[in-house]
Amino acid sequence: MPHDEFYARTREILRMIETVIDGKRDAVEMALTVLLAEGHLLIEDVPGVGKTMLARTLARTMDCSVTRIQFTPDLLPADITGVSVYNQGDREFEFKPGPIFANIVIGDEINRASPKTQSALLESMEEGQVTVDGRSYSLGTPFIVIATQNPIEMEGTYPLPEAQRDRFMARISMGYPDAAAELAMLRQRATSSPLDAVRPVVGISQLAAMIATARSVFASRAVEQYAVAIAQATRDDRELRLGASPRATLQLLRAAKARAALDGREFVLPDDIDALAIPVFGHRLIAARRSGGGSTGFGGGTISDVISAIVAATPVPISAAGPA
């Protein structure tokens, strides 16, 4: 798909989403970026700010299979992956696919399930397949998980294991709407759900083509060096106990490409890296000190500050002399 067509499509998607989610352009663009980078998205915020609404709207703009899993403490792994059931007629075990078998899976309040259930997502998210009773079943392509969760401090939550957090490409938060947006929302919702008006903009084949286009965006050596320099800095930083993984660097660059494409560019800028550093790295890093906002805390206060400082201090490779 040519870049201008890609651009036109994304504008349509964004406009469609904004009929539902008003005044959250940044969050919406970030969500779309992750989607087009074929990454899994984690939306973290307090209840009631529209996490699920964003996930559902986003999924609805795509004409592809969408499932939704409500995570609860008693949810079992099989409820996600599916089960083998004995078929009386065929006298055989038959695999009944779970809700994970879809192009877009919305995992609502993912941290309300037990770690055991959460980990059932692990294999599927990374490898794009499910193994039940020794048999592996491939998931659809594209396969994207959009999960929402409440901040860790909320009651009845299990923190996501580090390994699983690393599998999400980015974590975003919604934040409260401003007064005007909130007022508009009240009027809009008075009669009907705006979600009903959302129509799919792209089909599954187009989505796949858009993902391919996003991947084809050019990233110069300088930008790659810049991304690596930031990742390295997180590993050296004394404020951090755990730095960014190589997977994180990879996903940072992939997200940056999608962001560039979304911006109508055919090449990645350091600005893309800068903008994505906190969403992509934020949920993976662990602060050296436990106090003052945990590693998965709301907004990741301390961690975000550390990342901002690292980004600000890492020289942007512009000079012909290369990075200093």
Binding site: D237, D271, I310, V311, V316, A324
Partner: protein
Amino acid sequence: MSPTSVAVRPKVTPKLDVASNWLLSALMLVGLGAAAAGLSSIISDAVWWFVIMTVALLVFAAGATVRSFARRRIWPSVATAVTAFGVITLMFAPSESLLALIPTPGTFERFGELQALGAASISRQAIPANADEGILFLLCVGVALIAVAMDTLAFTLRVPATAGVPMLVLLLVPSFVRSELDNGFSFVLTAAAWIAILLVGSRRPGRRMAAGIAVAAVTAGLVLPLALPPLESSQAGGESPAGFSTGINPIITLGDDLRRGTPSLALRYTSNEAEGQYLRLTALTDFSGRSWGDGDPEISPENSVDAIGAAPGLGPDVPVIAVTTDISVSNILSRWLPAPYAPTSVTGLVGVWAWDPDALTIRTELSSARGQQYTVESQRIAPSIDQLMAAGTTVESGFERYVQVPEDLPAVVGSTALEVTAAATSNYEKAVALQDYFRGGEFTYSEDAPVDNGYDGSGASVLDAFLAAKAGYCVHFSSAMASMARTLGMPARIAVGFTPGQGTLQDDGTTEYTVTTFNLHAWPELYFANIGWVRFEPTPGRGTVPEFAPLAVDDPATPGVDESVPAVVPTNAATAAPDLPAEKTPVDPDLQAAGFGSSTGAVPWWIVAVAALAAVLLVPAVARSVQRTRRLARVAAGSAETAWDELRDTADDLGLKTDRGLTPRQLRDDLRQHLSPSGVDALDRLRAAVESEAFAEHAGAPDAADVRTVIRSLRRSAGVWSAMLATFVPRSLASRWRPELVRA
């Protein structure tokens, strides 16, 4: 490399890398030591060097130690200052201070005394000076201040490149006192240390450039002094008068002046006498030590020059001729006033002047002869030969010190004197015999032979070499004759001053004499009872022989002058010394005719100094301008990155925030508020060009005109003062050399 931690914890200065801290401190110590070693050309022996290096070592060590644990940058500077003060207190005023360290009012009084002592000592001593307590105190204070300044510049202000400036100041001190660059080695060593400081201190791409500039600067520094001598000699009253002003033994610099390539105007005078006057500056009366000195006379400030005391020993029967001389001193810096012997009063002087009752020299403590216009009333003592013959051979009481000679005076001096004067009976005949001996043809006038053969100066030790080689200049002839006279029991001293100079007939019939530094001269004065001090002239080819001391033979060195008759036309070195080296002999006749007018060559030293200072201050501006021009050429050739570097540096110069962590878009957003609309457009085009060049597959083409537009727009919005500051003190140059001493 990780400037990371700086940004993460901006409030707290991170600790320095240990190696860089100590290495830089050590290099600065080496550089300072090398620069200080250059002082050895003006200060004798080497003990003082170890003393001041101890002070410097302690100061640097204190800075480095505190720096290794202090979190704030200010503390190491405080530590160096406190250490410097403490060390100096401990060394120089322990008994005036509590526990030898804590200053009391007495400490500062003591410091004041030492400072005065040092200043006095400098003004009295000859080069090389002896580092007595006062001079040592001044040296220690100076070095301590320089060390504190270097440490503060390199670490607290983080511009190690500028640490070279205090070192340079120290390096230049000797050249203020002496003109020749004889401390080249120390120069090179200091420069090497500075380059090392730059290399260690700089971890940026600018390092190579810094090294290049350093090399260029050092080369210029070495070449420049070689190019300086003509400049200096064009300064009227250059070196020798400067020497006089600091009280340095005039004999030392006299030879240097005579050997200099071109003369400079010393003074002009007219008098009511037909012939020119010998003008005395000072008299060397003391020959008890290794060489002739002025005996450090105590001159009472009450000896006002309105009425100068009678000439010592002048008897009532001796005829005297009243002489009035109007003197206009040009550019010489001298604490002694040129005046004919024997002065009776001086009028028209500025400043406080006093006369020495013995030598009748006129001296000031605070002002200078420079630019003075004054009238001297004097008596020319004209004894008859009979009176001189009658003076006898006894030494009057009170004149014993004028016959004193050092114990190690070579025996040949006395034996030659006896030999030469064997036929003479009276002191007068002996004196004339001695004068004839020197002027008789056996001796030749040479300013270079003594230097070439290592017997220059007025010391006792050089006399035998001079008497053997029979070549020298006024210093040797006068000191030899005076010494020989003393061995014969005749009171003698050496007068230092000027020969009469070149006379020019004025329209009003008077003769104006022009005296240059080539007229600097030394001659013996011998004392005769009831007559006083009488001038003799043993130097062949120089000056005039007094009429009362005619020569027995014609002086072959001055074939055009009949020495038996007092010379009416005074001679100067250029005309009367045909054996002068060829390159000096032809004094430009135009120059002489013009009387060394102020427009010809006599550039005041301060203009030269201001010009030099201005040139030095312009160096950063020129360097930045050259850099900008070269960059714009590269931009025109298609390098957008260069355009961006230039923009960033321009903003840096203007004091705008140009963090290297900013992306082109972020920098554009920061600069937008400082730009005119056209500037914003130009900046945005450049932004697009640099983005596509650095990050896209196909590079865009930058426009050098856009760079100029943005620069203009930025400078305009910054205001006149900031723009000027940016031109003359371009911060971007310094920041390129700023070290990244920080480690995570």
